[in-house]
């Protein structure tokens, strides 16, 4: 499946899918959409990315962060040291790095995504209990944000479902692409 057209197109389509999925997530309260379908659309981005580049590359570009660090040298001030560390991990990433740099990989596993989503969805319901009302009683902000609409605990619930669905599909895709 690794054709040049697909590979080039996916590079531009992936952010588009993600932005669209978030739009779907937020419009879900009063229109068709919501967390479930938003999560599915969002995971399409990564499904295509896996098809085009392979799951290792997808994990590398979206689901893990490698943080490089190094012991402080004798002649470095603490400020200079902090500045070096930040620059090495942001705009100078991978450039003037010597092999003796140590690194730590932070990886977002799909299982974590699922757990975080479930946690968010459940906790959005628990806020109702904390206010002395039944579970999942909605609470909405007074102000209306343009384009997104009003925010409230049901939005949090939807966001949790979004993460849960995305984690589920990613788990499936990563597992199957290993075959």
């Amino acid at each position: 499946m690794k054709t040049i057209i697909l590979v080039t197109a996916i590079r531009y389509l992936t952010p588009l899918f993600l932005v669209f999925s978030i739009y779907i997530l937020f419009r879900g309260h009063n229109h068709p959409g919501g967390g479930f379908i938003g999560g599915l659309i969002g995971s399409i981005a990564f499904v295509f990315h896996v098809l085009a580049y392979g799951s290792a590359r997808t994990v590398n570009s979206y689901f893990q962060l490698t943080v490089y660090h190094q012991d402080r040298q004798q002649n470095n001030s603490p400020t200079q040291y902090m500045w070096d560390m930040v620059s090495a991990n942001t705009w100078n990433r991978l450039k003037n790095r010597t092999p003796d740099w140590r690194f730590h990989i932070f990886r977002v596993r799909p299982a974590y995504l699922m757990a975080a989503g479930l946690f968010l969805a459940t906790t959005s319901g628990v806020t109702g209990l904390l206010r002395g009302k039944p579970f999942m009683t909605g609470w909405w902000m007074e102000v209306k944000i343009p384009f997104i609409g009003s925010l409230g605990t049901p939005t949090l619930f939807d966001a949790g479902v979004y993460m849960l669905v995305m984690g589920m599909v990613l788990k499936l895709v990563f597992t199957m692409s290993k075959e």
Binding site: R109, A111, M114, L118, F119, G128, L129, G132, P134, F135
Partner: protein, 508 residues
């Protein structure tokens, strides 16, 4: 504590516990600690819930603050709280057993989160006040069962799971169709609302109600293994390790019976003249076939699996007789059976930890090595068979008395005969596993699995814990009998239930 919180905690505690387990996916020691805490917290909330329910009969909360027939309702009454209490006790026992009795691989691949999610499913089934949610919670419970049964992926397990999954999909299809039929007949899914509607004699769809009830009878009948639909149970329950099969064997079929009793006392009451004789026939055959099947088996766990079926027959017998005493007998029997069946499975696990087999032919002479274990088995087995003064006796006494009062002589006769054969079957296990000399050519002493004394004691701990509870409800049966009678009254007189659910006084 407000009833809003009290009804939600039995669902939230296992869910949050499972979430933490997902976060600590790699570190199964931390998972074990978390699950231990969750079990204690679950038990505590259920005790609180029981206390409140005993004072107020029915507790209710409306999810999302939507008024009753439109929103989702959670209801707790004495029957549901009793089920949860029994489930919490065996939850703690199975958890304690799993610490030593389950291999690390299975624990690492999600045994603990699945255990908690299964308990969440049980809470959901016992607390829901909505027909569709009942179906959904039952599916939550069953999906965890599927995963637990196949956890580890050995050949025997996969074979058993395949049978279990296939037949349960079919049953779920029946249930979903039944829910759909109910909705099309009455336009409501709230159990309290439905209960009021089916009691209106002039409702045009009333004659069609028995059609809907057949869907539920078949669906939950498959899930709780009643007579013609039981064959999947002995084929699948013996395959997984004991820490899994004890939980599933102890709990899941009883939850099926719980829903049957709930639905047939609350909703499907219009055509009892047809349904009760049918249930009586089914329960008689369930008892008989289960116990005859057990007599033919020569495997510790398979004998116990067949006995599950025959015990299901007793629970159904109370529903078939349908007097307050009979339903109370069923409730008592369900609680007793959840505890005793789990305990017997755990004992088979303790034996197998040492001797690495469940086959009666290869086992023997356990009495010499572990006399305490033999005593524990003897008491549990006698309790299952219903010897006075142990707990099984009171359940059977209540059922038999109710049956004789109602004139169901054949059914009572069958149940008493089945008790006798149960005793025979338990004696068979006793003779083969504990009493007879060890068949020397099979396992020489040096081939016994090396089990340290500490580990062996830890394995005994849950068995002793359960046996203490069993002895308590046997020797001092009065509180549980009274509770069962109250539960049965609550089931047969639904005014309080419907009033509390539909009054919406909780809305704020």
């Amino acid at each position: 504590m407000s009833s809003d919180l009290l009804l939600l905690l039995p669902l939230l505690i296992p869910l949050y516990g499972a979430l933490v387990c997902l976060m600590f996916w790699q570190q199964e020691q931390w998972q074990a600690v978390m699950v231990g805490l969750a079990q204690i917290a679950w038990m505590t909330t259920i005790v609180f819930l029981m206390q409140r329910v005993m004072a107020e009969e029915v507790l209710v909360t409306q999810i999302g603050n939507w008024p009753a027939p439109f929103g989702i309702t959670l209801v707790a009454d004495i029957f549901g709280a009793l089920m949860l209490l029994a489930a919490a006790v065996i939850g703690i026992a199975v958890y304690l057993f799993s610490l030593q009795g389950l291999d690390v691989t299975r624990r690492r691949f999600g045994y603990y989160p699945l255990l908690l999610l299964l308990q969440m499913g049980v809470s959901g089934v016992c607390l829901t006040g909505d027909l569709f949610n009942l179906f959904v919670w039952f599916e939550v419970l069953l999906i965890c069962c599927f995963a637990l049964l196949s956890l580890g992926g050995t050949k025997g397990q996969l074979e058993g799971t395949l049978k279990y999954v296939t037949i349960n999909f079919l049953a779920s299809g029946f249930l979903l169709a039944g829910v759909g039929v109910m909705y099309s007949l009455y336009g409501a899914l709230n159990l309290a609302e439905l209960a009021l509607m089916v009691r209106q004699p002039e409702h045009p769809n009333l004659p069609l109600l028995s059609m809907a009830s057949v869907f539920f009878l078949v669906g939950f009948g498959i899930k709780s293994a009643i007579f013609p639909l039981f064959f999947w149970l002995p084929a699948s329950y013996h395959s997984p390790p004991v820490a899994i099969s004890a939980l599933i064997a102890g709990l899941v079929t009883k939850v099926g019976i719980y829903t049957l009793i709930r639905l047939f006392t609350l909703i499907f009451i219009s055509d009892l003249g047809f349904m009760l004789p049918l249930l009586a026939i089914l329960s008689g055959f369930t008892m008989l076939i289960g116990v005859i099947g057990a007599a033919a088996q020569t495997d510790f766990k398979k004998i116990l699996s067949f006995h599950i079926i025959s015990q299901i027959g007793y629970m159904l017998m109370g529903l078939a007789i349908y007097t307050p005493l009979a339903i109370a007998g069923s409730v008592f029997f369900i609680v007793h059976n959840i505890l005793v069946k789990t305990n017997l499975f755990l004992i088979s696990g303790v034996v197998a930890q040492r001797y690495r087999t469940f086959s009666l032919k290869k086992l023997g002479g356990v009495y010499l090595h572990q006399p305490v274990l033999a005593l524990l088995f003897l008491l549990s087995a006698l309790s299952l068979a219903g010897t006075p003064p142990l707990s099984g006796f009171w359940g059977k006494l209540m059922l038999a008395k109710a049956g004789l009062e109602a004139g169901a002589y054949t059914l009572v006769g069958v149940s008493l005969c089945v008790s006798l054969i149960t005793l025979f079957s338990m004696t068979k296990i006793w003779n083969e596993v504990f009493w007879k000399p060890k068949p020397g050519n099979h396992i020489p002493d040096k081939d016994l699995a090396p089990v340290s004394l500490l580990r062996l004691r830890q394995l005994h701990l849950p068995v002793i814990l359960l046996l203490v509870v069993i002895l308590f409800i046997g020797v001092y049966a009065r509180p549980l009998v009274q509770l069962s009678v109250r539960a049965a009254n609550g089931l047969l007189h639904i005014e309080k239930y419907t009033e509390t659910v539909l009054s919406n006084k909780t809305l704020k």
